[in-house]
């Protein structure tokens, strides 16, 4: 059995505040993610889960602790494209067509022909063949997030980091996108870390749900999701789903209370 794809050891992020104690965003996070595992992180608003993902992706350095990918420690100097990042909002480049957006991570890393083949393949995978030449503003929010996903998948990353990718979508579109992500994950079997504040979304999609504490964030608890794949929306009425949702909700409620109540969110 191979080691974990990603391992976080005592990862901490704090930002200095002039003249005072530094502001600790998350503290001593330990997490290990196996090959092909879909892990969700849920937690109260402001618990540092998004910052954690950004630190893992190297967009900001950790204050202390280590990040290992396939057993090799990642340092700031590392410039290999090993992670795909799916951003929350409008992160598609408005001056690039769908195809060109998906090509962003491929240009210069593959021959033009291979890159375009890969980009078309992933556009097809997310169901947007025929929209190659559309600009982002010509597409709906759901379609934009499909392209966002295709762009991250196209570089064939070792791990896919998803930062609340469906947060800006309306409830119906969001549900459809969850089902689409289930399908796409089933076809690609990528290792995924998925950030969300929506518990049902985390359970529906994941093999394991991590609950973050309030700030400074740390891993409070984790739950394997005992539901077989491939999944459909039907599992939402499965008693194990409902029970897990309740347990996780109780914990988040406790965290919010400990943070000073929901009025402070």
């Amino acid at each position: 059995m191979a080691g974990p794809v990603l391992e976080l050891r005592n990862l901490t992020k704090q930002v200095p505040v002039g003249g005072q104690e530094p502001f600790v965003i998350f503290n001593n996070v330990n997490l290990s993610v196996k090959e092909g595992e879909f892990v969700s992180i849920v937690g109260p608003s402001g618990c540092g889960k998004t910052t954690l993902l950004r630190v893992v992706n190297g967009l900001m350095p950790p204050s202390s602790g280590q990040i290992f990918l396939d057993g090799k420690e990642l340092t700031g100097a590392d410039n290999d494209l090993v992670m795909g990042f799916v951003f929350q909002g409008a992160s598609l480049l408005p001056w690039r067509t769908s195809l060109k957006n998906v090509l962003l991570g491929l240009e210069g890393r593959k021959s033009a022909k291979e890159a375009e083949e890969a980009a078309r393949h992933y556009l097809n995978l997310v169901g947007l063949s025929g929209f190659e030449n559309h600009y982002p503003h010509q597409l709906s929010g759901g379609m934009q997030q499909r392209i966002n996903l295709a762009r991250a998948l196209a570089v064939n990353p070792r791990i896919l980091l998803m930062d609340e990718p469906f947060a800006a979508l309306d409830a119906q579109t969001r549900t459809f996108m969850q089902l689409e992500l289930l399908r796409i994950w089933w076809q690609t079997k990528k290792t995924v870390i998925f950030i969300t504040h929506m518990i049902s979304e985390a359970i529906l999609l994941s093999d394991r749900v991590i609950v973050f504490s309030h700030r400074p964030g740390r891993v409070r608890s984790e739950f394997p999701v005992p539901l077989a794949r491939p999944r459909s929306l039907d599992i939402k009425s499965d008693h194990r789903f409902v029970e897990l949702e309740n347990v996780v909700w109780k914990q988040i409620e406790e965290e919010v209370k400990a943070a000073g109540g929901f009025a402070r969110l």
């Binding site: 992706n57 494209l81 480049l93 001056w95």
Partner: protein, 260 residues
């Protein structure tokens, strides 16, 4: 049906506006002022313009002279302004070094520089181009600077998360995001550049539209004066239209985003 009537009304609005303005001008000139040394009818101006364009053809040297210094000044301002603006956005050191001079030069009325520049460089082409350049360079520089500074942090992070090299980050993210701002700067520069042309040609030139207007004003030749002013206006409009074409070519993605 109703919508198409509305469309026709909208497309007619511009010609109606121009026409009614000219009618008002004509009425004012022939019935209110009624003094050819103060105001002449647009019909007189049009007749004069026709004569200068197609009969005597003596407008062309002035038009060429003015267009040429305008074009050179604009191009020089773009070539200098855009890179300096970018450098200021990307390097705090450059920004702090250039800023005091930029602010001082930008806020000083350019007309104050004109005599000095003409004194140093004479009344030849170089001096005039420099005066136009001084007018154009700051809006271009400032817009390039802000354009690059306000590039959405999210776009920069997208570039970084895809591990773009510094060069790629500039070419694929920062530069395309700045293009609309640079073009807005160029558009501002058109007006200021034409003012620069007029100023430069007022000070001891022997040809050009500015000279023509100055000369016509001195000799109370109102038809020629108005022809000169009108040609300046047309040059400005042409400059804007040209920039619009460039904008559509440079950023086709924006076309549909603009508020009509």
């Amino acid at each position: 049906m109703q919508a198409s009537y509305k469309n026709i009304a909208w497309t007619m609005l511009k010609p109606i506006s121009i026409f009614s303005g000219l009618v008002l001008w004509h009425a004012l000139a022939t019935h209110v002022v009624n003094d050819a040394t103060l105001l002449v009818s647009p019909l007189v101006v049009i007749a004069k313009a026709y004569e200068m364009l197609f009969v005597t053809a003596d407008l062309y040297p002035h038009l060429y002279a003015s267009s040429w210094i305008f074009l050179q000044g604009m191009v020089l301002a773009t070539v200098v302004g855009v890179p300096i603006g970018f450098l200021m956005a990307l390097s705090p050191a450059v920004r702090d070094y250039v800023n005091p001079w930029m602010t001082a030069l930008y806020t000083t009325p350019r007309i104050a520089f004109a005599p000095v520049i003409l004194l140093w460089l004479g009344i030849d082409l170089a001096a005039k181009v420099i005066i136009v350049f001084l007018g154009c360079v700051f809006p271009i520089l400032i817009n390039s600077f802000y354009g690059m500074r306000v590039v959405s942090r999210e776009f920069v992070e997208v570039g970084r998360s895809f591990r773009l090299s510094r060069g790629s980050l500039f070419m694929k993210i920062l530069l395309p995001a700045s293009v609309p701002f640079i073009l807005a700067g160029l558009r501002l520069a058109v007006g200021r550049g034409l003012t620069g042309v007029a100023i430069a040609e007022w000070f001891g030139a022997t040809e050009g539209l500015g000279y023509l207007i100055f000369f016509a004003g001195q000799t109370l030749n109102l038809p020629i004066l108005f022809v000169g002013v009108a040609v300046f206006a047309i040059l400005g409009i042409l400059g804007f239209q040209l920039l619009r074409v460039i904008e559509d070519l440079a950023s086709p993605w924006r076309k549909e985003l603009l508020v009509k």
